[in-house]
């Protein structure tokens, strides 16, 4: 995904003279293409993310469209107050990109994991929260975010993720995309866990359970219309995210359900447990640890479908 980001931001940088790219001392080679065409609009802000966020907000208040890029914890929780005050309170159109989100950098340890970012950033007024499932959604979301008149946060994976959308779908911020049709249960996915969710749908199909799959590339604002539809149409709705089960997409949907008073479907939530991962492991290991595997998702959804 990060290569797609670099490629798309390079294209956008050529098209839009307002676009500025700020990096927190990573991805230098990645952005050689951008710099080739727009060197005066590229800033390596050093290992100083708080300042970078304020600088970007100041630029946005002067009519520019800054995009900030670094590893997820450092572009979110590290500089949370700068995001809250300088970007959100001022409604400054800054795009914050967190690379290696979720467990993408599992091997690097909990300092580089980001399992709380969506929960924290979605509580900020004016903030839009985006999590593309593949490089196609990433490219379309980046373009759409540039049209917003306030800040947006986009969490992306690392590299080598499979492409889900063979052709670019119609994408609008706040409108979920149906990735697979199905009759019995609905799986709602956000971000880079999508391949696992689609695999779960395959496993369910093999067991006679037809699963619809939705890509919630936008966590805030929630697509409440789509939620109302699927919670009315299916007996089981499962939410899957490579994020803590606290406060992310599952948390947002649970809050939405409370406001509805009576959404019928049984809801399941798959995500990371409320712990730091102290042992070493790959992304696959970490996903297994937290039950974020196609096999576990399929088994639990099937059990719930049978009980319903």
């Amino acid at each position: 995904m990060r290569n797609a980001f670099a490629d798309e931001v390079t294209k956008l940088g050529k098209e839009d003279p307002r676009l500025v790219l700020l990096s927190g001392d990573i991805g230098n080679k990645l952005f050689d293409g951008f710099k080739e065409h727009a060197e005066a609009r590229f800033f390596n802000c050093g290992v100083a993310e708080a300042n970078m966020m304020s600088v970007a907000s100041g630029m946005a208040l002067c009519g520019l469209r800054p995009i900030i890029y670094t590893i997820t914890p450092f572009t979110t929780t590290r500089c949370l107050e700068q995001i809250r005050v300088d970007a959100c309170y001022h409604k400054a159109p800054v795009i914050i990109v967190g690379t290696g989100a979720g467990l993408s950098y599992a091997e690097l340890g909990p300092t580089h994991h980001s399992l709380e970012d969506m929960a924290i950033l979605r509580t900020l007024p004016e903030m839009t929260v985006l999590a593309p499932c593949d490089q196609t959604e990433l490219r379309l979301l980046l373009r759409a975010a540039l049209e917003l008149d306030g800040p947006a946060y986009m969490r992306i994976g690392k590299k080598g993720e499979p492409t889900i959308h063979a052709t670019p779908p119609e994408l609008r911020i706040g409108k979920a995309i149906t990735v697979r049709e199905g009759n019995d249960v609905c799986l709602i996915s956000t971000g880079n866990i999508m391949p696992e969710v689609l695999k779960a749908a395959e496993l369910l199909a093999a067991q006679g359970v037809s699963a619809r799959v939705e890509s919630f590339h936008t966590v805030k604002p929630l697509d409440e219309t789509r939620l109302a539809e699927v919670f009315a149409a299916y007996s089981v709705v499962a939410v899957v995210e490579e994020h803590s089960r606290l406060g992310g997409l599952g948390g947002s949907i649970a809050e939405w359900r409370v406001r509805q008073g009576g959404a019928r479907a049984r809801m399941l939530s798959f995500g990371a447990a409320d712990v730091f991962m102290h042992e070493v492991g790959s992304q696959e290991y970490a996903r297994r640890k937290f039950g974020l595997t196609a096999e576990n998702i399929a088994a639990q959804v099937r059990a719930a479908a049978h009980a319903a």
Binding site: S57, G58, L61, C62, L64, H90
Partner: protein, 279 residues
């Protein structure tokens, strides 16, 4: 009534400073709001900037070519509110609503969208200067010739983000950014050079790659001269360490840190105004 800027001579600017100090003290008493000492120490800097140097048109507060002034020490808002009103950004009568429920004038500046003349909603320290750096870089990208001036408190220099910003500004050789530090030697609960090792402050800014100088922060002639010389030809961002007196202008408030939070009584307002020569 708004005052015509750029038409005040040195005596006029000094008279205006005294009047603004009196207004700030009256407002603190009327609205029972604090930070008097911090406001009084920076009045001369604000007056020099807004009534002498900054290229601003209150009729066009969003003019993309305007100079930007950021009150990074947001708790000085009561002083800034008076200055902006007298400079014509909004009617002085609007200040009557200071602190009222549903009003705009809080103890810190609101966002630029909500009040003309404000460039950044500060109050959390260490944000205004980095935002100002972003504005200065934006000016460079867009080929505009405006200057950005950020007014910091000495306590604010405790914040790490200030020094992150100082390093980036120097690396980028942002010569249209000027920081003025209102060095009144106090922060909320103690001497600013004792709470943190702030001294030698001017050397710190130099070591961070800035063209730094020291000035008497109540010397109107020196302040106007310095602020008018931006960019100064050094190719570096400019730091003005302004030595000031907390509570300046009123003998019983000067260098007494109780006035960071203390609210003056009616008789103290009267005594202060008498000292300031404002009736």
């Amino acid at each position: 009534m708004a005052l015509d800027a750029q038409k005040l001579d040195l005596l006029g600017l000094q008279r205006l400073s005294r009047e603004i100090r009196a207004r700030i003290i009256e407002n603190s008493h009327k609205t029972q709001t604090p930070h008097l000492g911090s406001c009084l120490s920076c009045v001369d800097i604000l007056v020099a900037a807004y009534f002498h140097t900054l290229r601003l048109d209150p009729v066009k507060p969003r003019d993309p070519d305007r100079d930007r002034f950021i009150l990074s020490k947001g708790h000085g808002a009561p002083a800034l509110f008076q200055v902006l009103a007298l400079r014509g950004f909004y009617p002085v009568s609007m200040l009557e609503t200071y602190g009222e429920d549903g009003g705009l004038f809080a103890e810190h500046p609101p966002t630029p969208t909500h009040l003309a003349g404000i460039e950044a909603a500060t109050g959390s320290l260490g944000h205004g200067m980095p935002m100002g750096l972003g504005m200065a870089l934006a000016g460079r990208i867009q080929g505009r010739g405006y200057n950005v001036v950020a007014l910091l408190s000495d306590g604010e220099c405790n914040e790490g983000a200030i020094w992150e910003s100082a390093m980036l500004a120097a690396a980028q050789r942002v010569e249209r950014l000027c920081v003025v530090v209102d060095f009144n030697k106090w922060q909320a609960t103690g001497r600013s050079c004792e709470v943190m090792a702030l001294d030698p402050l001017v050397d710190k800014w130099r070591a961070f790659g800035w063209n730094a100088c020291e000035v008497d922060g109540h010397d109107m002639a020196a302040l106007t001269r310095l602020l008018s010389a931006l960019p100064d030809g050094s190719g570096k961002p400019v730091a003005v360490i302004a030595h000031t007196v907390k509570g300046k202008g009123v003998s019983f408030m000067e260098d007494d840190n109780n006035w960071h939070y203390r609210i003056p009584k009616a008789e103290e307002v009267a005594a202060a105004k008498k000292e300031l020569g404002v009736v």
